[in-house]
């Protein structure tokens, strides 16, 4: 007699309990601020040391210089070479979101965001090119 009674008690309790599962596309899950998802790049900070490229376990990140054609400036008769500028290309299909690049970056140009909805029908759309403002400016000119 004890077992059916216990089962009934559990059943009645469950009638008044909140749902544990979330209705995902309708209600977004609460993502912790520590979560490691899509990598963000601050082009103005990058110095092109390539530590992120060397330590990337998935070979997903590329740092490419964008201002090879920029001419050096002359100040007081001295030629000063242009500051090197870089863009970052991350293949989101290869990236394993370990966050090693953000940890290793000496100037904190890379950081993890909480944007986890990255699925796409097109493979090319997964290549995330984070341009330096210099590129867009030089194109306008």
């Amino acid at each position: 007699m004890a077992r059916p009674l216990r089962a009934w008690r559990e059943l009645v309790k469950n009638l008044f309990r909140k749902h544990v599962t979330g209705q995902y596309p309708h209600t977004k899950p609460v993502i912790d601020k520590n979560y490691r998802a899509k990598i963000l790049f601050d082009a103005n900070k990058c110095i092109g040391c390539n530590i992120c490229v060397r330590n990337c376990p998935a070979d997903a990140i590329k740092i490419i210089q964008v201002n090879q054609d920029e001419k050096p400036t002359e100040v007081d008769g001295k030629t000063i070479p242009a500051k090197r500028k870089f863009k970052c290309v991350i293949d989101l299909a290869k990236c394993v979101y370990c966050g090693q690049c953000t940890d290793g970056c000496p100037v904190k140009a890379l950081s993890s965001s909480q944007d986890f909805e990255l699925a796409h029908f097109n493979r090319e759309a997964l290549i995330d090119e984070m341009k330096h403002p210099y590129e867009t400016e030089s194109k306008k000119k």
Binding site: P57, G99, Q100
Partner: protein, 397 residues
């Protein structure tokens, strides 16, 4: 009665991963079982030789999805031993917290899978609901639910704040209540008892002969636990019991895992309440070695052994992984014999198998008496030739 051979796997609804079990039946009874692995070989050890020490942490973490911290920590211990790095106490404590949470997560997952195999899906739903609590704690500490990536060479990557410690302690309080409930359900519920008692028996002498480790061995009365016998991290400073059972069947394995969860909670409380202060990592060199190291780690499924040979460059010369499933796999054939076909999925699930962790490549050429090492080129040419015989051409890949 004629003998019938039934193939269970490599692809089978009862198996979560590919492994082949050829079962010879006489009526319903299994008379003989031939096991085969190798359907999920990924070449992790060879790939590790082409990556630097930092990249390898993440590669070896992916040997297993559930014991990811176990593999990464065993590897990092080896690197630290060769480089003679002194890991800070706080980093050791954080590694231990993640390791024990991982054990809770693994055992709750196993309990759910066992419930599902028994045909008691309510238990599966309940235990996976509570596993979500553990995963939330891990997400908050490490930034991911499954691949925590907490280790760096010389320490850990993230510190734990006081709020996080409080939150994990809160989660533990709820979990302890739930685990107690599972222990009563597991030991009293007649469906569980009927499906597990006297099923898949592995006596102590057989367990020793077949090198069973972890909960599988402990349920057969083999009193071994790396955490107590060869303490690493801070396990020599915490008080816990090594759970053993003498029933030697699937029921014993269930009880061992359930009681181990209680012990894990006990360890976690002790560490969280006495967190050492200080740094979380020391600076590590890029080039390691030369030298060799072997380390053991008590993964949730059993003893995990890692070997590392360093040659003074930034990439390792050799990495060898002995995953716990390989040690436990040997006893499955013995356990299957004499049981019925209906119990086979449960017996296989009872060792908590992870076939992709276990798959290693070894080349045996019978008849020639030759032994040697094959280079990657030779191995590739050999495999292309073998597949051509089966009518598949891989030479263009």
């Amino acid at each position: 009665m004629p003998k019938i051979t039934v193939p269970l796997g490599p692809q089978h609804p009862a198996l979560k991963e590919p492994g082949s079990f050829m079962l010879s039946l006489e009526g319903e009874e299994i008379k003989d079982a031939v096991l085969r692995l190798g359907y999920n070989h990924r070449g992790v050890e060879k790939a590790a030789e082409a990556r630097n020490y930092v990249q390898n942490i993440y590669l070896l973490e992916r040997v297993c999805g559930i014991c990811s911290h176990a593999h990464a920590t065993a590897y990092v211990h080896n690197v630290e031993e060769i480089a003679q790095l002194e890991v800070p106490q706080r980093a050791k404590a954080i590694r231990m917290i993640v390791g024990e949470l991982e054990r809770l997560h693994s055992h709750l997952l196993w309990l759910g899978v066992a419930g599902h195999e028994i045909g008691f899906d309510t238990l599966f739903m309940y235990s996976w609901r509570d596993r979500e609590l553990v995963l939330d704690a891990l997400e908050e500490i490490s930034g991911n639910r499954v691949h925590y990536s907490m280790n760096s060479i010389g320490g850990v990557r993230r510190d734990m704040s006081n709020e996080q410690i409080k939150k994990v302690l809160g989660i533990l309080k709820t979990l302890e209540k739930r685990i107690k409930y599972y222990i009563t359900v597991g030991t009293e519920e007649s469906t569980i008892l009927a499906r597990t008692q006297g099923v898949g028996v592995l006596p102590k002498d057989e367990a020793l002969k077949r090198c069973a480790t972890g909960p599988q061995g402990r349920a057969s009365g083999v009193d071994r636990d790396v955490r107590r016998d060869n303490p690493y991290l801070l396990y020599d400073k915490v008080d816990f019991k090594v759970i053993t059972q003498d029933s030697c069947d699937v029921f014993g394995r269930l009880v061992v895992r359930a009681l181990e969860m209680v012990e894990s909670c006990k360890i976690l409380k002790q560490v969280l309440e006495n967190m050492p202060s200080g740094d979380i990592a020391v600076k590590a060199p890029i080039k390691i070695g030369p030298g060799e190291a072997v380390n053991r780690y008590e993964a949730p499924r059993g003893e995990d052994i890692h070997y590392l040979k360093a040659n003074g460059t930034d990439v390792p010369a050799r990495v060898k992984v002995r995953a716990p499933t390989l040690a436990n796999f040997e006893s499955v054939a013995y356990m299957l014999e004499g049981d019925t076909l209906a119990d086979a999925p449960l017996i296989i699930a009872a060792i908590d198998p992870c076939f992709s962790c276990t798959d290693r490549m070894s080349l045996v050429q019978t008849g020639t008496g030759k032994s040697g090492i094959m280079s990657f080129k030779e191995l590739r040419a050999y495999s292309i030739e073998e597949y051509k015989k089966k009518g598949i051409d891989f030479s263009k890949l």
